[in-house]
Subunit: 201 residues, 2 copies
């Protein structure tokens, strides 16, 4: 890049680096691709960015990103209001929906708790969740569906404390051997959980 005198090209490469996981090399590659081969793509992306930045907000009930006051899932009257499944992000929610068995409501944390960091560095949805569970009279069960990672476990622990303090039933997704797995390739931690949580057949 150093050999060009091109202000707007440089600015584009700089702006692309605001994207997560994009360094100066990827940013340059993206900029060249758009300018050499896909200017309509560049304009389409510019339009989509502006529109989304101006219109997308948080669902007032589940905290996911949406354009309405309340997202389509929360607005669905057929959902069981006594169950609230807490997931980390919309992709996890989509995975739960694909499983095709859950009929309750969701809360999307938009992140995980970071136990070692200060209160205001927590998942943006954490305070919204506290408010939701304290004011939702229909709620009976909090279903914890965070990741089985260190931060996901910490989040699950905090969720369990929150739910129990309010007298809710708190459950968590089962740990065990995934469908289609050969035991040989399952990690020891998963096998240990699967053995400890074994069920009568």
């Amino acid at each position: 890049m150093a050999a060009t005198d091109d202000g707007s090209l440089q600015r584009l490469v700089g702006a692309l680096q605001r994207l997560p996981g994009v360094g100066v090399r990827s940013a340059a590659r993206m900029a060249y691709h758009l300018l050499l081969h896909d200017r309509s793509g560049a304009l389409e992306l510019a339009h989509a960015l502006r529109q989304a930045a101006e219109s997308v907000r948080h669902c007032a009930l589940c905290h996911t990103l949406c354009e309405q006051e309340v997202c389509a899932t929360c607005a669905d009257p057929n959902r069981d209001a006594s169950q609230l499944c807490v997931v980390e992000n919309p992709a996890d929610q989509a995975a739960m929906e694909r499983a095709g068995i859950y009929q309750g409501r969701y809360f999307v944390l938009m992140g995980r708790l970071r136990p070692l960091e200060p209160q205001d560095a927590q998942a943006p949805g954490w305070h919204a969740l506290q408010q939701r569970v304290q004011t939702d009279a229909a709620l009976r069960e909090l279903i914890v569906a965070t990741s089985f990672t260190v931060e996901g476990e910490a989040t699950a622990h905090a969720l369990a404390q929150l739910g129990r303090a309010l007298g809710l039933r708190v459950t968590r997704l089962a740990r065990g051997v995934p469908l289609g797995s050969e035991l040989e390739f399952v990690d020891p931690g998963t096998l240990a959980h699967a053995l400890a949580d074994r069920r009568p057949v």
Copy 2:
């Protein structure tokens, strides 16, 4: 994403996938990052995309991307007009400039030749280069600085043919052991070239 009803979020995820190397998961991650944590970054990127798409064009002399009729390097009167160094892209040109020894001019192919593909699928700069070398009366030497890869070699071969047909001196960057290398870790092909091109000390 499936669980949201959000048109502009979906459109943003779709538009981000026009970027090279960005699939649906990275696009969703980028969109969430911008909307949750960096809306000003989203607007800045939108502005940079639009401005670059509207103002960036090819330098009339060296084919690199720039905003003027002729880029700063080509406009520099102190550059030796008898030498033309052909590189694949602006990053390669920048690397040559960092070496700090070359005083001639450049041509930026913006790609490589693909020998197995039809003529119109070639590097966008190939035809511009043919025209340039045929009409540049001051030119004496074509310095081939393409990559030492299969497509780079094919491009070098085509450049050599083009230059020789016009009676130009055609040279290529030396192949050999990089500075700071331990021989143990140098690949056999490089060592073979370094041995064949050995120089008296």
